[in-house]
């Protein structure tokens, strides 16, 4: 028996992913260093004005620099998303391993809980949490974590069940190894690649969710610069300032494309 050769992502695909995500990250981190400014400063004189050295992307309807608003937005959503994914992955990993190890009613209870959450639309979950903590980053983080952990839990539990039942793990137990060793050397190598893929998809889902709720005006509150909120604010002016509307749209697209390609590149 020979192990199937795993197809590797094409180098060009990897370069593309690195380029897209690197560009977005560099913009978000270095934008205000290159062109100092304030995302909240209004100047109605410059409403929908074109680009100039102090505002390379021009101005929105209230005369705020789009460059600086975009920088702020591209820091906010990914930060919330990454925090939510980190929490969800940790919770899913721990609960998945516990379910697989303990079995019995612990496992049944966790599976029922995960299935019940899965039956609810994800955005509705986030909205319910946001109703308790309206318009805050913490609310988004809590709501998104609550939605995203199910995926990590299901992946971990399925993989852990199969791995822990394997002769390799039985052998390790017979040889006297403890569970920490088994989890580190047997389980983690099986789960890690799945986790990376799920994390990239989860981050994309979270960013999309934040933008979608912002777009229907139930997410972050104005004047916070947020991708979905920026789109809906600029939508009435699409005829006068199409580039102003396209700026947040293109930024969101680039971010999601990069993350989706990253997830695909890790598939084995």
């Amino acid at each position: 028996m020979t192990a199937a050769v795993l197809p590797r992502a094409l180098p060009t695909g990897r370069i593309l992913v690195a380029a897209i995500l690197g560009l977005v990250a560099a913009f978000a981190l270095l934008g205000p260093v290159l062109v100092p400014g304030d995302p909240f400063a209004q100047s109605l004189m410059k409403s929908l004005a074109g680009p100039e050295p102090a505002a390379p992307f021009g101005y929105d309807h209230l005369g705020r620099s789009l460059w600086h608003r975009l920088v702020h937005a591209l820091r906010l959503s990914p930060l919330i998303a990454l925090a939510a994914v980190a929490t969800a992955a940790a919770a899913g990993l721990v609960l998945g391993v516990v379910a697989a190890l303990r079995g019995g009613w612990v496992e049944r209870l966790l599976v029922i809980l995960a299935d019940a959450l899965l039956a609810l639309p994800g955005l509705l979950m986030v909205l319910i949490v946001l109703a308790i903590m309206p318009g805050t980053a913490t609310g988004f983080w809590a709501g998104l974590s609550l939605v995203l952990w199910v995926e990590f839990f299901r992946l971990t539990r399925a993989t852990a069940r199969a791995t822990l039942a394997s002769p390799a793990v039985q052998a390790a137990r017979l040889l006297g190894f403890g569970w920490p060793y088994v989890l580190r050397t047997h389980l983690w190598p099986e789960i890690a690649p799945l986790m990376l893929t799920a994390a990239a998809f989860g981050t994309a889902t979270a960013i999309m969710g934040i933008a979608a709720l912002g777009f229907v005006s139930v997410g972050m509150r104005a004047p916070t610069p947020e991708l979905g909120l920026m789109m809906v604010e600029l939508l009435p002016y699409w005829r006068e300032a199409p580039m102003a509307l396209l700026t947040p749209v293109l930024a969101t697209f680039a971010l999601l494309l990069g993350l989706t390609l990253l997830a695909g590149g890790h598939r084995t």
Binding site: M1, T2, A3, A100, L101, G103, R161, A162, L164, A165, S166, P167, A168, V169, Q170, A171, A172, R173, L174, L175, G176, F177, Y181, T185, H186, P189, E190
Partner: protein, 490 residues
């Protein structure tokens, strides 16, 4: 008249030649057996003759079937022959039957679509075919309700429904116990009765002996020897054939047990085991002594592995007592698995796994090297991962890993059933040596009663419990799909 003749069949993978030019003929009423180890190219040769080679491989040569000459490289030309000229006996009968279809319609379908009979006639023929195979009562059952042997008979009835005179069977006895093996041989010989041709590909000498006819020994894609099966097996010419026959448990000499029995390592009294609500072992009493080999045989699914789990402390017996000798470390009881690849972490280099074990058991640094020598393993293997080491080497590495834990007892669960005969003899020989030199108690499980009889000092035969036939087949299927959940996790 020749049913099938193949001339100068070669199989190439790019520029690499996997099967050297091989020619063979198949005559009515005279079976042809192709004998060889895994990797000898015997399956590729058969696939080239049937036109079912994987697309990445290329075949050359000419195949004559039923008066037609076909170039072996032209896959499409063979399509029309499948079912009508050539019938293939599937290796895994359960997997080749439609799980949602009753037995009779599966056969009737082949009569209707391959042979072209109208619906009513096809149903009649199917009923008669099943009757002839002793399956009249089973015609309304679904595949999951059939036993392995019955499923195999349904599968062959369906395969032969197209009226093909030639039957090709590739490793038809893989993983079967001795009783089922004889059933399959009978079934195959039955196909000859109507003047058909039979081509059997196997590594199983016992099956070759049962089938008879002519024999062709294949190694590294080349024919080493051909002749009448009985003549080749009784007086082999090629050195490799002699080695192969010598490796058959039938020709082993009986192991001489050490004269004085060692201390008792483990004692089981009045043991009763159940798994999943099924009674597996009832009132078994046994004793394991240092230096002795206990042979355990019995049909598939009779609870051999469960007995092992209980002896190793991974399954709590329903009744009875298992007593370990006093002063033994919990890790003094080790196990060898049937599939060594599954017994190692998939992504970790073997050397690292072994060093972890050595460190855990505070073994001196040269212990691994010493054991490598003793088990005749190359140190270079340690840099590899389990998937890229041969089965025989990996099973020896598994033995090495167990030895690092300074075991007093090893439960070897069919350790050689997936290995070639020559490798099997090596591994069993090593186990016997270790039992003598290190005073190990060994429980050796095998479905091969001859092997057990030659090696074991004491034998326990686990009978199939009453009313467990269907449960047994379910257990086999569960095992095939890797669904079993060991007690260690419950």
């Amino acid at each position: 008249m020749t049913l099938l003749s193949a001339t100068d069949i070669t199989v190439l993978d790019g520029a690499v030649r996997l099967v050297a030019p091989v020619s063979l003929t198949l005559n009515p009423g005279e079976p042809l057996v192709i004998l060889g180890e895994t990797g000898s190219g015997k399956s590729l040769l058969a696939q080239a003759i049937m036109g079912t080679l994987p697309a990445s491989l290329r075949a050359t040569g000419v195949v004559c079937i039923g008066g037609r000459s076909l170039p072996a490289g032209d896959r499409a030309a063979f399509r029309g022959l499948w079912g009508r000229q050539i019938a293939v006996l599937p290796q895994e009968p359960w997997l080749s039957l439609d799980p949602l279809m009753r037995a009779a319609p599966q056969v009737a379908e082949a009569h209707r679509l391959v042979r072209g009979l109208p619906g009513g006639a096809a149903r009649d023929r199917a009923a008669r075919d099943l009757q002839a195979l002793g399956l009249g009562a089973a015609s309304a059952l679904y595949p999951h309700q059939l036993s392995g042997g019955m499923a195999q008979r349904v599968a062959i009835a369906a395969a032969r429904a197209g009226g093909a005179p030639i039957v090709i069977a590739d490793e038809p006895t893989k993983g079967l116990d001795a009783a089922r093996r004889d059933d399959v041989a009978e079934l195959l010989l039955g196909a000859l009765a109507r003047g058909g041709g039979l081509l059997v590909i196997t590594h199983d000498l016992a099956l070759a002996r049962r089938i008879g006819g002519r024999l062709m020994v294949l190694r590294d894609g080349a024919v080493l020897e051909t002749g009448a099966t009985s003549a080749v097996l009784s007086a082999p010419q090629a050195a490799y054939t002699r080695e192969l026959i010598a490796a058959d448990p039938e020709s082993w000499s009986r192991r001489v047990a050490p004269s004085e029995a060692g201390q008792t390592v483990l004692e089981a009294r009045d043991l009763t085991l159940s798994r999943g609500g099924q009674r597996l072992v009832d009132g078994l009493t046994l004793e394991l002594r240092a230096g002795r080999i206990l042979g355990i045989t019995g049909p598939s699914g009779c609870g051999k592995s469960s007995l092992g789990d209980a002896l190793l402390g991974m399954l709590t017996p329903e009744r009875g007592q298992i007593t370990r000798a006093r002063g033994l470390a919990p890790t003094a009881f080790q196990k060898l698995w049937q599939d060594p690849v599954a017994a190692f972490p998939r992504t970790r280099p073997l050397g690292q796994t072994l060093r972890d074990v050595a460190r855990l058991h505070a073994a001196p640094p040269d212990r691994i090297g010493g054991l490598l020598d003793r088990l005749r393993l190359a140190p270079g293997l340690l840099a590899r991962r389990p998937g890229s080491v041969s089965g025989g080497e990996l099973q020896r590495l598994a033995l090495l890993r167990a030895m690092l834990a300074k075991p007093r007892f090893i439960f070897a669960d069919e350790p050689t059933s997936r290995l070639d005969p020559i490798t099997q003899r090596d591994i069993i020989g090593l186990l016997a040596d270790l039992a003598r030199s290190d005073g190990l108690a060994i429980a050796l499980v095998s479905h091969d009663p001859v092997l057990i009889e030659r090696v074991a000092d004491v034998t326990t035969c686990l009978p199939m419990q009453e009313g467990r036939k269907s449960a047994r087949d379910a257990a086999i299927r569960r095992k095939d799909r890797g669904m079993e959940r060991p007690a260690i996790l419950r």
